[in-house]
Structure formats: C-alpha cells, structure tokens
Subunit: 427 residues, 2 copies
C-alpha cells in the first residue's frame, strides 16, 4: 500500500470518502470520552486505600521517635527520606520531604531563586529582567506554565529519543548569561516517553554555562513507573555526575509518590547536593512548620522500602500496560503505511505522544472534539502553546477503560487521517 | 508587705539570701524542663487519632463527588471550605484551603507580593528596596522572622490590651508609602493573649494608608481556642469591615486546625475578598496540583461542622485550662506584692506572657536555664530579638504536665526575683 503522500489526488479523494463515512459514524454515536489528563484510574488508586488504616491508635511515632502528630522534623521523617533516597539512588541526607505536590516544590524552588537568588547568584533572579529558561520540546505543559508565569522567556529545544539536543543547549548556555536553567524530565519524558542517555546526562552535567548560577530542575516523576519488568529505563545519578564535573550545585532533583499512592495525596521530595540543601533548608524552615508527618507515616507503613514500591508499581503496570498496548495497537492498525504519523512506544510514564501530519494537529483535535473525544489541546506540549509544526498530540491512556481507549484512539486516528488527506488535497 | 522597689538595701539583701537558697535548691535537683514551645500535649493530640480510621475503603469521595484520591479541586473540597467559613464567620466562597501549615500560606502570600505584587501595586514588592512591615509587639517570633527574611524592615508598635497602638499605626501608614503591611494576631495574641477591640478593628479597616497596596495579614490562629466556656473572646468579621470602609482588598485572613486536630498535620486556609481570591487563585493554580484532599476528607469526617469543632475545643480546653491556671496561680503566689512583674490572664490561645523587672528578662532566662528550665529566649517576641525593655518572657504551658509546670514556673519566678533584686541592689 502506498503512503498518503504518494497517492494521486483521485486516490486521495477515495480515501477521504471512506474516512468521512467513518467520521460521520463516530459523530452519530454521541460519544463523550476524555483523553486529556494523565490521571491514574480508580483501579490504580484503590490499591492505596489501605494506607490510612495502617495508622493505628497509639502508634504515631516515626522510627526515630518523633511524634508525627505534633510539630517538628521540618525536612521529613527518616523513613521517608530513606525511601526516596533508595528510589532515587541517592543518600537519605540528600533528601528533603515535601507535601503532596512536587510541582509546588519546583515552583517554590524558582520562587526562592527569584527572591533570594541561588548560591552563586550576584543578585536575585527577579532582578534579571530578560531571564530565560530552556524547555525541551515537546514537554510538560505545567512546567512551561510555571516558568512562563515567573517571568522567564521560554527557549524551546528539540527533545530527541536520547534526550534534548545537546549541541544546541551547549551553544545556548555557553553564550548567554541570562539563560538561568532548564527543565528536564529525563525518564519516560512527558509526553514522548523518551529516556535521556548517559551521554546526554554527562553533557548536561559537564557543560560550561555563562550563568554561574545555572540550574537544572530534574523532574524524575516516573523514576519507578515502568510498564515492563524486563525492559526498564534507567538513569545515572545526575547529582553524582554534576559533582564529578565540578558543577555540584547545578541540579535540583524532584520525585513524588503521586503515581505510586494517591495522585492528589502523595509525598514529594527534593534531592540536592549539600550546598543547595543548606541554602534551601535555611529558607524552608522560615516558610513552614514542616511537611505533614501523618501523611509521611502512613506512606512509610504502606511503602516500607524499595521492594514494596516495586511491588506496588508492578501491580500499577499490570493495570496500565494493556491501556498503552491498546493505544499503540490502534495507532499501528490505523496508520500502517499511511506515512502521515509517527510515535514512540514508551516503556513507562503516563503518555503516548503522536506526531500527525504537519499542520494538522489543531484540526485533528478540533475534529475529535466535535466527535465527542476530548484530547489535550494541540500545542499544549510546547512553550506558549505554540507547536511550530502543529503536529504533536499527547494521548493520556491511563484514566479511561480499555473499551473507551479503543474508541477514542480510533476517533483520533480517523480525525488525523481526515485532516491530513484534506490538507494533501489542498497542497 | 512592701514592693521590692520600696525596700531599703538591707531588706533587699535579706530577700536576696532567701532567693539564693531557693535557687540553689532548684539547681541541685537536676531539673530538665522545657517551656519553650507552644505545642499541644500528647493528651490533646490523642483526641484526633481516630481521624485516619474514619476513611473507609471505597469511601473516598467528597460530598460534591470529587475523588479525593486523584487530582482536582485545587482550592479545597466543599466541606472544608464550608467548615472554615463557619469557623471564621465568612462565606465558603471566600475560603481557599491549604495544606498543613498556615505559616506557609502567609509566607507564600508575601512571596506572591514580592514577585507579582498585589492588585493595586505599581511594581512587585521585591522592587521596593526600603520596604517596611508593622509588627505589634510583643508578637509571634515566626511572623517576624518571615518578614525579616523577606527583606522588610520591621517596625515595632506596642500591643495594648485592646490591640496595637492605633494612633501610632495610623500616623505611620498615612505618611510612609514604603510601609506595605502589618502582622495581626487579633484573638488571644501570641504571647499576651490580648483581644483586639472592635474599635481597633474598625480603625485598622478604615485607616488611610499611603501605600495603595497595604495589606494586613490577619492570623486568626486561635479563633476557636477558648479556655472558658463562659468567657470567650470574639472579633468582628474583619473582611466585612474592610469592605464597609472601602478597603476591601486590605486583609488576608488565615486559620488552621493545627491546634484542633494535629499540630503537624492539620488543614490551613486563607480567607479573602473576591479580588484577592482571584489574584491568589490565578497564581496558586500554576504553583500546585492543589492541597491534599485525603487530609481534608478525614478532617471533614472528624469535624463535620462548627458544633463538632466546638465540642473538640471544649475537651482541649479541659486539658489546657488547669495548666494555664496552675501557671497563673504560681505567678500570683510568687510575685504577690513584689511589684516587679505583671502579666495578663488570657482567656484563650497558647501562651502566658510575663513582664519581669526592666532589664532582667535575659538574666532571668539565663538563670532558669542554669537551673534546668528552658524558656523561650528573652527578646524572641520582638523583631530582631530585641526587647527594648528586656522585660518580656513568653511562657508556653501547653506541653508539660501540671507537676512540671508548677516547678518550671516557680523556677522562673525565683530567677526573675533574683535578677530583679540583684539589679535593684546595683541601682
């Protein structure tokens, strides 16, 4: 079979007719499906429901003897710091525990930079008017929104299968002192599911930056979120690498149990080197009486060690994997030989990212919406919502059931093909 | 009996001898007592231990149907907004729910002012180099530390029995555009237990300020924390007053369940008028995925309405009241007729604040420490730790048991008298 681009106009019109019939059929079904949000499904969330009941009356002490009901332990109880240490492959001393939102830890990290500056800063970042931030694209919309809101100009850099385009990044940061940092989602990137290679990690850790206070916000959101037991992505310890290359202060790493326990009620953490920890703790201890220790204690009981985490994540993967596979199966089936779409087959994380025919992502999402299937807005995975190729669409298969995924992804595919064929006919 | 000031040197020396014998006796007892922190006692905290177990498997929905395990509801679930609405006497629509630390809500509020400015601000507050903040004194050390850390010059204003010195405040804010706001702890102030009168509240709400974006951070920490059923302090609704006087944006109000449920694991809230809510929510929804709803849900089950809160607080008062009364009894007994100390008898809150003979607070705390009794450092209740009279000492009777309070307050009294007599002999 020929790809769409190879078809002559007459053949394209034949294809269009078939697609229009299929599309009309979907529209007549009164569908109402939502593929927008990377939320865990109820079945995943049920697993952790046992957690609060693990706190028994008279048993509210951490293992160091801290009363988790009262004030104290401003940086978290030992068991949670140890757990995140083993999850991230760092020392427990490198870990500060937060509340339920790692996003807010990242936001606050930047707020501190703006108001106080980083250790090497000559002045607080709020005084650097043309401050800039590197955003590997496509990426996580909420990351981009944070730095946009905080007054950074966002610089998109293409994200390849092995990580962001390092030639471009090295060139940018070497020459521009107003580029103060970058986002990184190094394992199972949102939305492509790419994994930064060790080589890319080493280049990020070793590159020379014009800004002495350059920071990487390393969002290791999916550190244990593998779909396959026998094909697991992994990363080097970026904090150790940064130290190895004498840029020890370069990285703040983040993680959470949001997609291990409860999405809205997990435990988050920052990991950093000693200098950054001291800097951060000095501010944190003024800001707050410390994170919620009851939440930490129930998590410590539910997830007493890395093995327990792995066991939970294996069960989570058993729920998620069929949804990813169904999504990919439909994409394979619908787009085979059309030559108008490509996508990565992720080994973990929460998304599948599809690149439809250039210039048709917005139209595809619009058509799908009219057929009753809500997709993440086209462009959302790019700074300012602008996808220069109007091509990328993020698919979130975690929440809907298999049957809904099958229909929703089929609708998406039909819409993408419809938009592509119409565009080809115009060209 | 004559007061110490009326005694001649010989009589003072006699008094000194007796005090030195008593002090020596305490020193020989190897005491190790801590009166420094306003922490609830284990007996108070036990009451809420039932809370996590009130979450039953399969029952994790808020009353509006929100799945408390998942993402969503960035400003809190309805039941907690309603509860705080009724606690504060405001509408639920005026309430935003936070996590476990109201202090961090206040801190973040000021961080927003620094980075974004308030609605009427011409520029973000971080760009106002000589920014100033009014601090009623004595007051809460952690309040002062927040504004000090965030680069405000702290202006102490005396706190009287009916609230801060309004003549002074009106004069200050009318003439200085760099005074951007003030702290207020209007009910059972930390440490004196004073209650702002309605007249003071009205003057705060109505006064003219040179800064158009002047803000009052109204920390209503002890809003339901009465010691006596029949003698309860109360406040007018400051948000309504501010509106009445056409300064509707002036106030952010804060409260929490830290001393209702768990000190380290309660629920906090901001209450504000619509303009400030819109301003705050626009930023909050970028900062975080929203506060922990599992914590909110268990609180909503434990504290379904204001009556439930009142019932819990009555039981808390039954535990706290004897400790306050023991403290006051010892103070009465020890200082009767000496004329060298005064204190307020608080009707609620967490502290008793004693004013010892001018110039002897530091010495008193030092002597107590040497006798094995840890007190809040003298001066801690003043900006920069400087009590101009070196007189105020904060007593935190909530945590120790009655027996320990009896000894600790006796030691404090003996030390204060010792320091006073020694000073009088030098004068």
């Amino acid at each position: 079979m020929k790809s769409y681009c190879e078809l002559d106009k007459e053949s394209l019109k034949e294809v269009l007719k078939v697609l229009e019939v299929r599309y009309k059929d979907y529209c007549s079904r009164n569908l109402s499906l939502d593929m927008t949000r990377g939320k865990p499904s109820p079945k995943q969330l049920e697993m952790a429901e046992v957690m609060p009941s693990m706190l028994e009356k008279g048993d509210f002490k951490s293992k160091s003897g801290a009363d988790c009901r009262n004030y104290g332990m401003p940086f978290g109880i030992d068991e949670m710091r140890e757990l995140f240490g083993s999850i991230l492959g760092v020392s427990e001393a490198q870990v500060i525990i937060g509340n339920n939102s790692s996003l807010s830890l990242m936001y606050d990290c930047l707020m501190r930079s703006l108001v106080f500056g980083e250790i090497e800063s000559k002045k607080p970042w709020s005084q650097i008017e043309n401050r800039k931030w590197i955003c590997p694209v496509p990426g996580y919309d909420r990351h981009f929104l944070v730095t946009e809101t905080l007054g950074f100009e966002l610089i998109p850099v293409p994200l390849n299968e092995d990580g962001p385009d390092m030639d471009m990044i090295e060139d940018l940061v070497k020459n521009d002192a107003s580029i103060l940092g970058m986002w990184a989602m190094p394992l199972y990137s949102n939305p492509d599911g790419y994994i930064y290679s060790e080589k890319v990690c080493r280049r990020l850790a070793s590159m020379e930056t014009k800004a002495p206070d350059f920071r990487i916000l390393w969002d290791n959101a999916y550190v244990v979120h593998h779909l396959y037991d026998d094909k697991q992505g992994s990363l080097p310890d970026i904090l150790a690498l940064a130290k190895e290359y004498n840029h020890a202060n370069r990285v703040y790493e983040f993680a959470s149990t949001s997609k291990i326990s409860f999405a809205g009620a997990g435990i988050s953490c920052i990991a950093a080197n000693e200098n950054n920890l001291v800097h951060t703790k000095d501010i944190l201890k003024v800001q707050s009486i410390g994170p919620n220790k009851i939440d930490q204690l129930m998590h410590a009981k539910y997830l007493p060690n890395l093995d327990a985490v792995k066991e939970v994540m294996k069960k989570q993967a058993d729920i998620l994997r069929p949804k990813f596979e169904k999504t990919l199966e439909i994409l394979d089936m619908e787009f085979q030989d059309t030559g108008i779409a490509k996508w990565n087959k992720p080994l973990g994380g929460y998304f599948v990212s599809i690149y439809v025919y250039n210039g048709t992502a917005k139209e595809t999402v619009k058509l799908a919406k009219e057929a009753g299937v809500a997709l993440t807005p086209a462009g959302a995975t790019y700074p300012y919502g602008i996808d220069p190729f109007d091509s990328n669409i993020r698919i979130a298969p975690s929440f809907p059931c298999l049957e809904d995924i099958e229909i929703a992804v089929s609708v998406l595919a039909v819409c993408a093909k419809l938009a592509a064929v119409r565009k080809l006919l115009e060209e």
